[in-house]
């Protein structure tokens, strides 16, 4: 390797997105400094009236939910054995793994004494929902690391270890599904303890079930969303038929969610809250229309679903609606009781943006250097071309035989 290629290898070109990334990193580092040296009170807009804000509402509640594609797809491929979805499993597990790392980093920012994050391991309180969530996040992140490890091991060619892990893949996936079911729903259970504080549009005894179903829906949405982004960034994308099929599954899950939501309002007889002229009402309707009703219509009609742009739009709506739902529960729905107008400080926002940017960067690096999107598995090669390729190969083989 001569000097020129070495230099070109480490050549750094500043693009727009790299610039954005660097700015976010600098702002985030400054806020990190303030947060850890001057306390939560200085860095955030949190208070005794409003002790949980953006970091819990977005980074934790949304982060865990958006990573749900990891366990649903692993279940589809390894438990239900629907092999055609195999090409999507790796990106889904990678997203989930990075998602959970993001969540853990965010928790370290949010905890008053982050160096005690390991305390639940030895200090037990089985009555506490938070205790259970902590354990599940810990165990599931371990499962995700193991589920993802074959990708790295393949690259390193550590075949013995690879073989061992492949043998334990199905038990691992099953454990992952159990842990996910538990803590995806338990994030909803966290709010069962505040019946008089969370606004009635959102407080419901069904919160754990609603959280679980919406997480499943948004998990699929995220898998499709990523495949679109990857297609733009790396020219690696999923087969259209797979995406379309996932979209159909999403319609099913969303309608289940809608049905449960109706049942919930009927059971609590809470219809009247839907039509009061209050801020909460508008946020509620925005969340329902954007996240459930519109995408159900868009994704259910085959003609619309087949167009890449509208499909992408529908999927994006599900994701935004989901984020709104979690923020409504963590922030909008808690404001009127707290009588505090909480809005995150710029430092809270910058920390969140920094962590998310780091997640994006890690995803990019992983896709670049690891076999995440396997070429032969997912790039659609027109049938004729395939035959041609085979012919060429045969031709070459024959040539080689002759020459031998």
């Amino acid at each position: 390797m001569n000097a020129y290629t070495l230099a070109s290898r480490f050549h750094f070109r500043l693009t727009f997105w790299k610039g954005v990334f660097i700015v976010l990193l600098i702002l985030g580092m400054y806020s990190t400094f303030v947060r850890f040296f001057y306390g939560l009170g200085t860095a955030t807009n949190l208070s005794d009236q409003f002790p949980w804000g953006l970091w819990i509402g977005f980074d934790v509640l949304c982060g865990v939910g958006l990573a749900a594609g990891g366990f649903t797809l692993a279940a589809i491929v390894y438990i239900f054995n629907i092999k055609k979805f195999k090409p999507i499993v790796r990106p889904a597990i990678l997203t989930a793994f990075l998602g959970y790392l993001i969540v853990i980093i965010a928790i370290l920012f949010d905890l008053g004494r982050p160096y005690r994050i390991w305390h639940p391991i030895i200090m037990w309180n089985p009555h506490s929902v938070m205790f259970e969530v902590g354990w599940c996040v810990m165990l599931y992140t371990t499962v995700l690391a193991l589920e993802f490890s074959p990708v790295v091991l393949e690259k390193l060619r550590w075949n013995k270890l690879l073989k061992i892990i492949r043998n334990f893949l199905i038990p691992l996936v099953i454990l992952g599904v159990i842990f996910s079911t538990l803590h995806q729903s338990s994030l909803g259970s966290l709010y069962l303890i505040v019946p008089e504080k969370l606004y009635p549009l959102w407080y419901s005894p069904l919160l754990p079930v609603l959280f679980f179903i919406s997480a499943v829906a948004v998990g699929f949405a995220m898998v499709i969303f990523e495949s679109f982004l990857s297609a733009r960034a790396f020219n690696k994308h999923l087969e259209k038929s797979l995406v379309s099929e996932l979209a159909r599954v999403m319609v099913f899950v969303l309608s289940l969610y809608a049905l449960l939501k109706l049942q919930d309002f009927a059971r609590r007889d809470a219809w009247s809250f839907m039509f009061i002229n209050r801020t909460e009402t508008y946020f509620f309707w925005a969340e329902i229309l954007l996240g459930v009703v519109l995408p159900m219509i868009i994704l259910a009609i085959p003609k619309i679903r087949q167009s890449e742009k509208t499909l992408f739009g529908g999927v994006l709506m599900v994701i935004l609606g989901f984020i709104m739902n979690r923020l409504n529960i963590a922030i909008t729905g808690m404001e009127s009781y707290a009588q505090a107008d909480y809005f995150p400080s710029w430092m809270e926002i910058s920390v969140t943006l920094m962590i998310v940017a780091l997640g994006f960067a890690a995803f990019r690096m992983a896709v670049k250097y690891l076999p995440i999107f396997e070429k032969k598995d997912h790039i659609e090669i027109p049938y004729r071309k395939q035959i041609k390729i085979r012919k060429v190969e045969n031709h070459q083989l024959q040539k080689e035989k002759i020459s031998n």
Binding site: D48, N81, H127, F131, E132, S189, L190
Partner: protein, 256 residues
């Protein structure tokens, strides 16, 4: 022996001696605020209802089944046999779930410290163990804050309400609230008028989450067996389909 407080707002003159005594025993800095905070474990508030000035205290209610104890992921809260709900600060990781969950909005956070803790009234647990009574009860000049064994306090409250029917609103707040507390409040008006929660407030809050949490072993066992069974059946079928069979349905033995 379980202790508690009886607070009689009709006797309170708003002298704030309890507040000062509290600041002193807990070595808290001077503070002019009339709201609970990490530097104020009790406050005396007042409200004028029908031309009558009513002074009332806010403090930890020392619940029988404390919500803070139920939600804390590391078990930093403890309901002691003596009655006080105390906080083990060496366990706490600062997640603030207790602050969100407490139905009386009592635990407060040290927002401006880089290594913060949760703070609240401890019913002067240390003093009780030394054989003394809590500082606020000791300081109260009129007997508006009484400290003693719970049964005795309840009897006193019932007698007062019975004997002076015109003076008291006939309700002992704290007897059943949030599943029962160790602080009982009697007053000339309904506590709802003073801003205390009264509606749908009888059950212990810990039940709300325990209903779900207790199902977890079932969920784990059931879904574990179900998923293993499912994957076993499906994978076995697929394997069987892949084994070549001849016309009679007998398995063709592989060569080699």
């Amino acid at each position: 022996m379980s202790y508690g407080f009886l607070i009689d707002t009709t006797l309170c003159i708003g002298c704030e001696a309890c507040m000062e005594a509290c600041q002193e025993t807990n070595q808290l800095p001077r503070n002019d605020s009339y709201e609970l905070s990490a530097e104020r474990y009790t406050v005396v508030n007042n409200k004028t209802i029908a031309d009558q000035d009513i002074y009332y205290r806010r403090m930890c209610m020392h619940c029988e089944d404390p919500t803070c104890r139920s939600v804390c992921p590391v078990g930093a809260f403890e309901k002691t046999a003596e009655g006080p709900v105390i906080y083990h600060e060496n366990k706490c990781m600062g997640c603030r779930y207790c602050i969100i969950a407490c139905p009386f909005d009592v635990p407060k956070f040290e927002w401006n410290k880089s290594l913060p803790l949760v703070k609240k009234c401890t019913m002067c647990y240390q003093r009780i163990k030394e054989g003394k009574i809590p500082a606020c009860a000791e300081a109260c000049p009129t007997g508006a804050t009484l400290f003693g064994q719970k049964e005795g306090l309840i009897q006193i409250a019932q007698e007062r309400i019975k004997q002076e029917k015109d003076k008291y609103h006939p309700y002992i707040y704290g007897l059943n609230e949030a599943g029962g507390t160790s602080v009982f409040i009697i007053s000339s008006v309904s506590l709802a008028d003073l801003g205390f929660k009264t509606k749908n407030f009888q059950e212990a809050f810990s039940k709300l989450t325990w209903q779900v949490m207790k199902e977890i072993p079932n969920v784990v066992a059931f879904s574990g067996v179900f998923l293993f069974g499912l994957s076993w059946i499906i994978n076995r079928r697929i394997k069987l389909q892949e084994i070549p069979v001849d016309q009679d349905g007998a398995q063709i033995e592989e060569e080699n």
